[in-house]
Every structure is written in C-alpha cells, then in structure tokens.
Subunit: 191 residues, 2 copies
DNA sequence: CTCTATTGTTTTGACATCTAACCTTTATGG
DNA sequence: CCATAAAGGTTAGATGTCAAAACAATAGAG
C-alpha cells in the first residue's frame, strides 16, 4: 500500500470522527459543530453578515444560509436586514442563543483536547504543522489550478470553465493567528 | 489562540478541501470520492457484501446502501441476493462500471499526491504518523465511552507515554476500520 | 437619469452521513 | 419445532455542504 493511500485512510478516519463528534454534540448540547462555530463567531463579533461568517468559518455562503435558517427557526439567532444597504443581512444572537452558547462545550472533543494537551510541546507543534502542511498542500491546487486540465474533462462535462472564479477565498494557512480580514465591515458609517 | 484551535482550523480546511475535490472528481470523472472508494474496494475483492464494504471504507452500512443505490441506478454496480444466506447482498461491478473505474483518477488530488511524493522520506512518514495519531486520538473515546472522568489521573503520575500506545495496528492496516462494535446493544427494543 | 454590471443572499438540486427504526432471514434454546 | 434473539440490509429523518441559478439592491457608465 502506498504512503498516500495510508494518508487517505487516516484522513477519512479523522473526517468521520469529526462528524460523529458533531452528532454527539448535537445530542448533549443541542448544537452541531458547525452551528456552534457559527454562533461563536457571531458572539465574538457581535453581529455579522452572511458573507463575513462564511469567510470566518470557511464555509460557503449557501451553507451559512441553511445553518442560520435552522438556528433562526429555533430562535437562537435573529436576522436583520441592513438599513443602509438592504442587500446585507446581519445575524446576531438572541437571549436564548447566548445562553445556550454559554453552556455549550468546545467544538473539538474534550477527550482529544486533553490528550493533545498532554503531549509534549514539540509533539504538539509537530502535529499542528503537519496538519497545516497537509491543508496547504490540498488547498494549493485551488490557487493555480492548471488552466487547461485533462482532456477527459470535456467529453463528459460541458461547463468546466469556472476554475478561476473561486480564487477569492483561499487563506494561506501559514500565518498562525491571523484573521483573514478580506472584508472590512464599516457599513454603519454609510451616508 | 490556543494550539488546539489551530488544529481545528487546519482540520476544517482539510475536510473542506477533501469535499471540494470530491465534487471536482464528480464533474470530471462522473464519480464522487466515496463512490470511487466503494467501487475500488469492490473491484479489489470482486464481490462484497454491504457490511464488508462498510468496514473496508469506514462508513456506516446505511451510507453504503445509499451510495450503492445511486451506483446501481446508473448501472455501474449490481446487487445480488445471497443464495445460501438470503440476508446477504453481494455487490459487484458491471461492465460499464469496470470501464468507468478504469478511467477514473485517484480519490486523492493528484496535485496533493505529487506534492507529497516530492517530500523527503522522513517528512512523509512524519506527516503520515501525525495524521494517524490525530485519528487515533479522536477515535479513542469511541472505545470506552465513559469509564471514568479522569483529568486528575493523568496530569501527574504518567509521563504521558501510554497515550501513544493506542495506535498499535494502524500502520498495518490489514483489517481496516473495525468499528469497535458498541452498536449491538440497542437492537431488539421494539416489540 | 436610465441601463447594466456587481454584490449579497437565498433557492434549488444533488450527495454524503449518521442514528434509529424496521424488515427479512437465520440461528438457538427449550 | 417454534418462539425469540441476532444478523444483514433498507428506510426515514436530520444535517451539512457546495455549485449554479435566481433574486434583490446598489453602483457605474453614458
């Protein structure tokens, strides 16, 4: 078995564990992992537009919409249409949302966190940088995305012309603690 | 920002990249990543039951069912009820399934593979073992579920050496997945 | 001051996933 | 033998997720 096959297996296990924890979270805390992440982001900023949230948590806008739909239905967040720019929609936590969030656990398994914390410092940074490298290697081809790409593509899918479009949202992954900040939100000072 | 928060971010990026590649695969090759994995597994074994596949690719049986539903609808695989044991259902590739599979790319981004391959040997194994360790740390609490809630136990006495032991047979990978049962208790409560 | 391009969201349609509940069949204990 | 448990699959119901298309509102060009 090739090394990269083992990588794939490990990745799928990680992905699955993440998913299963999300479901467990949902049972014990009433929030799935993405819901929790989104709410934490909103709590940090006070109020955010859909696009801001999407950038912050690295999900598409469409996904944010559906997540907020569910949160809104449960009255954990509220949407407010922007007054100056009516295209924007601002989300903020409700009373009960804030409360629920306060009682919620972390979006990463406690078990994992404590195990990870018990590793020595150099082991932790080794693991972290490995993950970041993998992430970078996987996201990289997003950036250049060979403009031509395989012949086999055209005899099957007609579209296939859209590779350049998404170059707006890739964050380097190198700088440790750095909010992407591609979006300055200074809307309130509009005329 | 805490180390484990950075871990979380890296993980989410990896998960997202994996998902996006799956969609791209689906466009250029007509198969998503899980579909491809399932078909490759079947191709290797010739013929497999739902449960075998589930174990092999680390997904639940229900998921395999829905994936095979789609593949069967497109006539890429076929289901055959077992003759001796009629509970079993065997899946095998059809003519066109074999053909499509032959033309399909790898389930991991080529770009990633070549980047990974270009790393030195020790780097590769460093990354691989980091991933395997993360996977092991995340899946670990699956095993016990709730014996005690230690915390005080480990932060003092143990030099944290036995945490690594959990991953004994990961690298061997002969018997893949092996979800530790834990599922067999809630069955016959219907009545 | 219109007409059009751009920007921000939502909707649509398709997959992937899981748990829990439900069927079928086989295995087992009296 | 037969009732019941166990094993293998499928169905139902929820989420998450994305690309693309559809909408809505603002910004720009003439």
């Amino acid at each position: 078995m090739a090394r990269h096959d083992e990588v794939l297996i490990a990745l799928r296990r990680i992905i699955r564990a993440t998913d299963m924890y999300s479901r467990r979270l949902s049972k014990i805390a009433g929030l799935t992992a993405p819901q929790l992440l989104v709410m934490q982001a909103i709590a940090r900023q006070g109020e955010m537009t859909m696009g801001d949230i999407a950038d912050e948590v690295s999900l598409s806008q469409a996904t944010i919409t559906t997540i907020l739909d569910r949160l809104e239905k449960r009255e954990l967040i509220q949407r407010l249409r922007g007054s100056t720019d009516k295209r924007r929609v601002y989300a903020h936590l409700t009373e009960s949302g804030t409360e629920l969030l306060a009682r919620a656990p972390t979006p990463l398994q406690e078990e994992f966190i404590s195990r990870f914390a018990s590793l020595s410092d150099w082991e932790q940074s080794l693991i972290l940088s490995s993950l970041q490298r993998v992430a970078a290697m996987m996201n990289a081809d997003d950036i250049d995305a060979s403009p031509v790409l395989d012949l086999g593509a055209m005899d099957r899918a007609q579209p296939a012309t859209d590779i350049n479009e998404q170059r707006q949202r890739q964050t380097g992954a190198q700088p440790p603690a750095k909010t992407p900040a591609k979006h300055t939100f200074s809307e309130a000072t509009r005329k």
